[in-house]
């Protein structure tokens, strides 16, 4: 028994220490920096102020904020629409290739997502693979200008984040008791009623979990808008990167980071709340 306790203590202790040094401390520093002033010669001037936060309400920043929210929201929606039927079919499949099909979803993780984003550039650019293909098939007369647009950013985000939608949905749908669907049909429910009243409510936790995993990174991923959207598409992630590396305004960059963290915290709280509400349902699943 005592052995067991020591083992638990050490295991948890190591992780705590690790997170304290490499997560809590840096976040604390970011928060502190956000309260300081931009310096002319030094990185920051050691003078407490809330100026950076007031500056956040500048319309151009608010625009970026809304644009990011909108893009991340659209990306999440597309992921749900594409991912849900896919996850459902694989989870309910009795085929012996079921495991393999799911494995295919995970394979892209074997390559760095940055490199895969470059691959998308090669696909989408004016003389890229997609345009060549469409031209040679005679479907278009002139190459499409896909790269450096919101569409390209969307394609990149959905491509990178889709597995994060599919995996939680898969886990959730696989636990869904098929007998409940039988029961609903037995009681006179048509397909639409079964979907709306039984399947969707019971897989709601999976939809929420997947949405969190897609929405939050979509807000802050900076290299995908950078590579695929060019200068036209500045998202929160790019804003932070610019403030630190280009504008050299560390307090401002930190303030944006803190806002983003708060936003994510808020969403995680909403998520937690919704799972708590759905716990009754999950208990029985």
């Amino acid at each position: 028994m005592k052995h067991d306790k020591t083992f638990k203590f050490i295991t948890i202790g190591i992780i705590w220490l690790w997170l304290a040094i490499f997560a809590v401390a840096p976040n604390g520093l970011v928060f502190l920096t956000s309260l300081l002033q931009q310096g002319d010669n030094e990185l920051v001037r050691l003078q407490l102020t809330l100026n950076s936060y007031f500056d956040l309400f500048n319309t151009s920043y608010l625009k970026i904020f809304l644009h990011s929210l909108g893009l991340a929201g659209c990306c999440t929606l597309v992921c749900i629409i594409v991912g849900y039927p896919f996850a459902f079919i694989i989870a309910r499949s009795t085929s012996r290739y079921k495991g393999f099909l799911l494995f295919l979803v995970i394979i892209p993780f074997w390559t760095s997502s940055l490199i895969r984003s470059y691959a998308i550039v090669a696909m989408l650019k004016t003389k890229g693979i997609l345009n060549s293909l469409l031209l040679s098939l005679g479907l278009i007369d002139q190459p499409l200008h896909l790269l450096y647009s919101s569409t390209a950013v969307m394609i990149g985000l959905v491509y990178s984040l889709l597995p994060f939608m599919i995996l939680p949905l898969y886990a959730n749908i696989e636990k869904l008791d098929m007998r409940l669907i039988d029961a609903a049909r037995d009681l006179g429910a048509n397909k639409r009623t079964v979907l709306l009243k039984i399947i969707l409510p019971l897989t709601w936790p999976g939809i929420i979990a997947g949405s969190m995993l897609v929405f939050l990174p979509a807000m802050s991923m900076f290299y995908i808008p950078d590579l695929l959207g060019g200068a036209k598409s500045v998202l929160l992630g790019n804003l932070i990167q610019n403030q630190f590396l280009t504008a050299r305004n560390w307090p401002m960059g930190s303030a944006v980071s803190v806002m983003l963290t708060l936003l994510m915290g808020l969403m995680l709280m909403l998520y937690w709340h919704s799972t708590k509400r759905n716990k009754d349902a999950q208990d029985l699943l």
Partner: protein, 364 residues
């Protein structure tokens, strides 16, 4: 039209890897409590799913209320099911679960409310409206499942081993409640179980199934006391089986030899001489005597007590005959036979009252 609510004619069902049902013919009368009884894998649940529409027969036809129901999906059949694990919707409370069927049919809110209350009163759950299924006990969940099905006033209620996950006492209570409910509602019940005691105590008629075939259809009394074949006899209750040689036979009587003793038995099924038969005797029909209690041992077997199991109202004995054959005998406490405290290894005499046996032909 006859008063058959369901007619199953020559129905077979094959799944890709194996056949499940062979040529099932069954008529189900309006208002009866019919039980499909058989070991797991005998096809009884598949037969139920054919009626509810979750499966379609590979061949043959099913008529419900005179109409062929082939191709009609489950949600359009006037049949409801109580599922084995209840399959209550976990995200809905009791009221919404029970109201589900009526809402699917688009029935007005007032009527839904009134009928839900009515049916919940009937199953004594009218104070649990807002509970979620996981806040209910097994027996209460069971009642919700029944209420959810009967509220739709189905022509037939299908029950797929609905009591199997309840403990013994609750199962007994629910058996009685179900039977009462069936009488009260007048709905035809088709009840699937592998528990023969349940089948015998609840049903008007029992359909004994084995390996996808119907072995016997009859009242509980018929299938227990006059089994059509060994399969039925072995599945329903315990039975002692004696290999029997027929020495002589006429229209009325059989002269037979069992375990080296000669018996004269009634020839109910027109058996002929030289045939090998099986004589079946239920444990409760065997009587066990101490040597001091008997005089005439001509139609008795000599045996040794191997095991004594005291069960309160009965004493179950395991006996071994001279030939090595083991017999099960159940002894009741009564005035005639007060001495039931048999000892292990004790020598005894066993016999049964002639006429209580069942004689079946030898099966290949």
């Amino acid at each position: 039209m006859s008063n058959n609510l369901i007619e199953i004619r020559g129905v077979s069902k094959h799944f890709p890897d194996h056949p499940v049902l062979h040529n099932i013919n069954l008529e189900i009368r309006n208002g009866e409590f019919l039980t499909l009884l058989g070991p797991s894998g005998c096809g009884k649940t598949t037969l139920l799913r054919l009626i509810s529409g979750f499966e379609e027969p590979s061949s043959g036809a099913i008529y419900l209320d005179g109409k062929d129901i082939a191709g009609i999906p489950p949600h359009q059949r006037h049949v409801n099911t109580v599922f084995q694990s209840y399959a209550l919707f976990p995200h809905m409370d009791v009221f919404d679960n029970v109201a589900f069927g009526l809402r699917c049919k688009g029935i007005a809110k007032d009527e839904v409310e009134q009928r839900v209350h009515e049916v919940l009163r009937m199953v004594k759950l009218d104070t649990f409206l807002r509970r979620k299924p996981h806040q209910l006990s097994g027996g209460q969940q069971q009642r919700v499942a029944i209420a959810r099905a009967v509220i739709n006033k189905p022509l037939v209620l299908l029950l797929d081993e609905p009591l199997s996950s309840l403990d013994y006492r609750l199962r007994k209570t629910m058996q009685i409640e179900l039977k009462q409910l069936q009488k009260q509602l007048g709905i035809t019940f088709i009840f699937v179980t592998h528990d023969q005691e349940e089948a015998l105590s609840m049903s008007d008629r029992v359909v004994v199934m084995h390996d996808g075939e119907i072995q016997q259809i009859g009242t509980p009394r018929q299938v227990y006391e006059e089994p059509d074949n060994l399969q039925v006899a072995k599945f329903i209750g315990e039975v002692n089986i004696f290999e029997t040689k027929v020495l002589a036979a006429d229209d009325k009587q059989l002269q037979v030899e069992i375990e080296g003793k000669l018996f004269t038995l009634k020839n109910r099924r027109k058996y002929k001489a030289e045939q090998t038969l099986y004589t079946l005797v239920r444990p409760e029909d065997l009587q066990v005597w101490s040597p001091s209690e008997v005089n005439d041992t001509e139609t008795m077997f000599s045996a040794v007590v191997e095991e004594v199991i005291y069960k309160g109202c009965t004493v179950d004995l395991m006996l071994r005959l001279m030939s090595g054959k083991r017999l099960a005998a159940t002894q009741f406490f009564n005035e005639d036979d007060e001495k039931l405290d048999f000892l292990l290894g004790e020598a005894v005499w066993v016999h049964w009252i002639p006429g209580w046996e069942v004689i079946l032909p030898h099966e290949a």
